[in-house]
Symmetry: D2
Subunit: 402 residues, 4 copies
């Protein structure tokens, strides 16, 4: 057992950190201004983003998330963890490094399970940061916490599949660069429960794809990315858009969600670290009742508790990453489920304390706290609500005693 | 000791409840649509609001908050509590009945401490719902949790006062109908600590009043109401705009905040009740893992815990109201402080559980949950952060043992 | 709605309080010393207890728990609440006033449902404090949280019933004065689920009654009272010992448990109040890091949070009592379930903070904190675990929305 | 970074685990029976203990805690962690392997700072398990959370030191084998704050040493070990009993407490693991409301949350151990403080859930849950209360931002 990062990781980390300090944090406000200056917030992408992406690409800080060394940086999950954490400190950070959800998960699916043709058509431009993608799984009409509830249909018709269904929380579909959805639906409702679903690639400009609205998150529109509700009405795509084969949807979902979940957790740790930084700075600047807030015992308890929660969440994240690297995503399912429960709640706790320490500034957009809070809150739901993960953990635990 | 509402209250409650069902809930979406259709969200007020106000006024459901029977309904705080709770179930509810913050607090100040002239000029149109008002106390540059930190200046110059300072969280100042601010600042920085501050009426169209920006709350702009940051730059107002006299600011603040705080608590209870209603309905509609969510033990614990928290918060609110009515706001300070700590956290807990039960719908605007959550979160800060109230409670408790 | 105690209650409360101060607290140590001086802690009862009982009886502070004015003080539950709270501040308090569990519940059963003969034989001496009783319901071999699990048998044989089964947590059975058990068991295993059980009176000196052992509670033996595991092996009692009739066990249990549960809650509030008193005193006496513990912000938060939790629990207790008095135990079932969940956890929280403030003294027997904590902990299990009560609350809540 | 135990550790772990299964668990009841059969519980030590110690010594499972390879097993803290955890599953476990507090801390002090003579006289027989020792630091009359409060005196008088003071929580002093105390007191009250205190060896049979009483912990006497209150009344010891030199008491305390604290944490993890085992077994055996408790969603949440808390606490413990091994106890002070806060609360949470799942059995001595709970509770106080550790963590955190 050994608790230090390797030299390779420390060197990369230093470079990512410098990039964040030099290029990302100073441009958060610029990004927001450019966005607000647009006629519609979903029309186009603030130009600063493409400039930042180019800079990151130039420095080789690009696609670090992808363990596959053909396409990506070839880092293990464990190696990527501290880098991803660093990027997650800023809400615009991950995209700068082409490491943002849901594209990372989609790229991983295409790199692992995509045909050569699919890779050429979609993976390549995604890796190059030229297009974006979305993931259309969740449906408004059923409890998606139970994935077997999904009702959308994918039906074979000659050389094509015909796709029907309503999806929502297709995050990223608001972006004008978003060109493709990975769509999950039933190819065979009569098949065994976990063989009914398939995943297929749907170009967003296909006939019958209609973005109905963009869903806000605690008042945030998350433009231009956005969270779309989309109607798929008799959408026809070539049969070769099917990924891996009919009935393999669950299998892909499991493969996709492991890394996706842990990336979220890494980013949440970064968000929490930044919130704690903000908190520590603020309370040393502000005076109430004749002393700095930092000298209030209650504030010190917030700080200590936050540090403790972050440390524990980080260790669990790293261990889960280590296990994914060594015994595989499937064997690491307990650890992945655990960290998926822990990290969002930890981030919410830490950020909430930072908000409280900032007073009114904390709930506004003068700091990134409120926005990060809202984002973290969705992650108690996205990729499975806490309760489903806890069920899974308990099941594995009980099985040890049967 | 007696735990039933009086017949008078039950009758009024029934009428408010019917009004909410018939007129308010069905128009929440209409209000939002009208607002979104405006060229700017702060330009004007959705017309449906004025229509609803007229209806409420016609039915005599108007100014119920004001214990003073000359101007208001003459209800005690205890009698008003369940009515206010009912209004608080909708974010647009309180305004419909002319019972929304910060106007209620401002009207209370004017009714109690205003000169006849001040009452004629500002109180009358506020009572009639013709104008709105804001309260300019908190400042961006100091920790306002300690009110003695306030730095704005109010200086006498002949028949006028000259006002300088920057204020923020002047809620309601975004509304085009908002005509006046109650402004708090120092008239005599050399006076004893609690005699330095005064409150004065400042027309929002006075020269030197400049609204710099509207502050968002977790992504919500709360338009057209809004939360303004305002520069007061050598603003001159007639000397008779001073309320009660120089150095009386703290005294007024204490009087103002008691009712204001408890009204917030009553509304939070209503918000929590509605969230619990939403939760109970949702979990009976949705199925996961072969049974309705309502049959999951964890969901049942959420429901039970929510019911328990609401009941306890309501009882404490009612007792605080009772004490304000019987022994006065000052003697009730421990109870007011307690409920101010309890109610926002209780509402956050209950609403958060409801959000979790709703999945993605919960964080969006398909329900009022996310918006109510954000609103409740601000109330752990507004009118004093939790920590300041707990300090106060502890001080009173320790004093019993000295 | 009205939140003051009546004059009658205030007068009684003053008398109980004086009695506690003068006679009970000063004798807690005496009681413990006499107990420790005995050759066995279960041999006899410290003589100071009988002296105190006589004093309380002389002052008319006796059987205050019993609403029935023929036998008891004729106080309502609401009137009794603050008196019971006061008694609960001391672990030896309730017995002094003949108001201790499980005798109160047993007396209530006999007063309500007992035959004249049963009342003459058992109720009279219980009311006079001459004998003690126990309640034999819970069984070691099944999950007693589900009362239908109870397996003991009560079989008619001529003019007698034959009783078989193993019971535990028969509290009070260690006391040499304990003469009778109310025993619950199945008379008809084929009857509908809630008609299978009956309650019957079993003299503890009947042949076949064998106390196997006394169960400790976190290291406390609770001598001489004690918690017994008892074998009932072909115990024969006259048929007239049956209470109310065969198959009425559940009905009686429901009637018995309502008041029993709320009495526990009242006592827990008293225990919490005393713990908070202890805490407030201690932190003003002890100095660390150059100031009294009372000046540490964290300690002040403990105090404030404790005061808030106590106030809320008390209000809910009083409301539950009020409802039992006005609409009956059955209609008050949600409130009884709620307070049964709230009060033990509240007491545990408050006492635990007091322990922490006392350091090592807190976990020892220098204060009553550790003993009260252990007692409170059992009340998250006794008379139904928290989880069962929350199930009940949720069920009632969901029913409102069906 | 690497998360697997070394082969060496896994091999040792397997041996300790086998020993626990074969020899320790089956003898817990035997130990308790022998203890209860004694005329006094503090008279002698159950013979089974010495038998078990001999077995462990024979198998080389002895003094594993001591990193010093001259005297002990020469394991690093990180290597020792999983072994210590395993021993901590049983309350009688650590002594069997000569790894119990406070002897381990005392042996560490003597191994590091003791003179040759001190080591020959006291360390040798301690390492051999022939005698026991206690640590006399805490005082009943001051808040010992602030160690500078300690008032006991150690005064030089010729070739001797004269010792005066009252100490309590001298754990282990009840044991008839306990022969020596490490005593902390002031040699120079005029010296700088952290140079006033010294540590000195005091034979328990020295004239003037008087054990006043044994302190219970939540009703447990922890015999024969016990927690003593001791008067030191003009006790004279040879000058060479001084450890390291006058004024070095704080320095030794810091060195002593690091390992001591983390050993407690390791043991607490073992206690929590055993509680979770107990919980998982129990809920699969018991049925309520027509299904095993294990099928209740709430119970599954307990299990999942327990597993998560244990994993996180273990990782933090291991990291703290790793840092102690690599950068030293002083540099690891934040991690040591963190784990000292985390582990006791984690254990209390897990054990409390297990108690709740066991019903009445949980608070009794049918399982080790209640006893382990009480033990864990003291560890939120012993070696510094949580609050002091959090102060320390916050101070270190704030310093990063100054």
């Amino acid at each position: 057992m050994h608790f230090d990062y390797s030299n390779k990781v420390n060197e990369l980390l230093e470079r990512v950190r410098s990039f964040m300090n030099e290029h990302v944090y100073p441009n958060e406000a610029v990004y927001e201004e450019q966005l607000s200056a647009q006629s519609s917030r979903f029309d186009s992408v603030p130009s600063v983003m493409e400039e930042l992406k180019q800079k990151a690409k130039d420095q080789g800080l690009w696609n670090l998330f992808l363990p596959d060394s053909t396409y990506g940086a070839g880092l293990t999950n464990l190696e990527y963890a501290p880098l991803c954490e660093e990027m997650g400190r800023s809400l615009i950070g991950p995209e700068v490094f082409n490491c943002n959800a849901p594209d990372t998960g989609n790229m991983e699916v295409l790199a692992r399970y995509g045909s050569e043709e699919q890779q050429a058509r979609w993976l390549r431009p995604l890796l190059d940061g030229e297009i974006r993608s979305c993931f259309s799984m969740t449906e408004p009409d059923v409890a998606s916490s139970d994935a077997t509830n999904i009702e959308a249909r994918i039906e074979r018709d000659g050389d094509e599949y015909v796709i029907n269904g309503r999806k929502w929380w297709s995050s990223g579909a608001g972006d004008p660069r978003c060109k493709v959805a990975i769509f999950m639906g039933k190819t065979d409702p009569e098949a065994p429960r976990h063989k009914q679903q398939s995943m297929i690639l749907v170009p967003l400009d296909a006939q019958g794809v209609k973005i109905k609205r963009m869903l806000p998150v605690f008042g945030y529109d998350h433009a231009p990315h956005g969270h779309a509700e989309i109607d798929f009405d008799n959408v026809r795509v070539p049969a070769q858009n099917m990924i891996l084969g009919e009935g393999r949807g669950f299998e892909i979902a499991q493969g996709r969600l492991g890394p996706g979940r842990i990336h979220h957790c890494m980013r949440l740790i970064g968000a929490a670290e930044r919130a704690l930084d903000d908190l520590c700075k603020r309370v040393q600047e502000r005076v109430a009742f004749h002393k700095p807030l930092a000298d209030q015992g209650v504030v010190r308890e917030w700080i200590a508790t936050s540090r403790i929660e972050i440390e524990q969440a980080r260790l669990l994240t790293l261990k889960a990453a280590y296990m994914m690297d060594t015994v595989g995503n499937k064997e690491a399912k307990a650890e992945i489920a655990m960290i998926k429960v822990v990290a969002p709640q930890m981030a919410l706790n830490v950020i909430d304390r930072a908000i409280q320490a900032h007073g009114g500034a904390g709930v506004s957009d003068d700091f990134t706290l409120a926005a990060q809070w809202a984002n973290s809150r969705t992650l108690r739901l996205a990729d499975g609500p806490d309760e489903v993960h806890r069920r899974q953990i308990a099941k594995l635990e009980l099985a040890k005693h049967q």
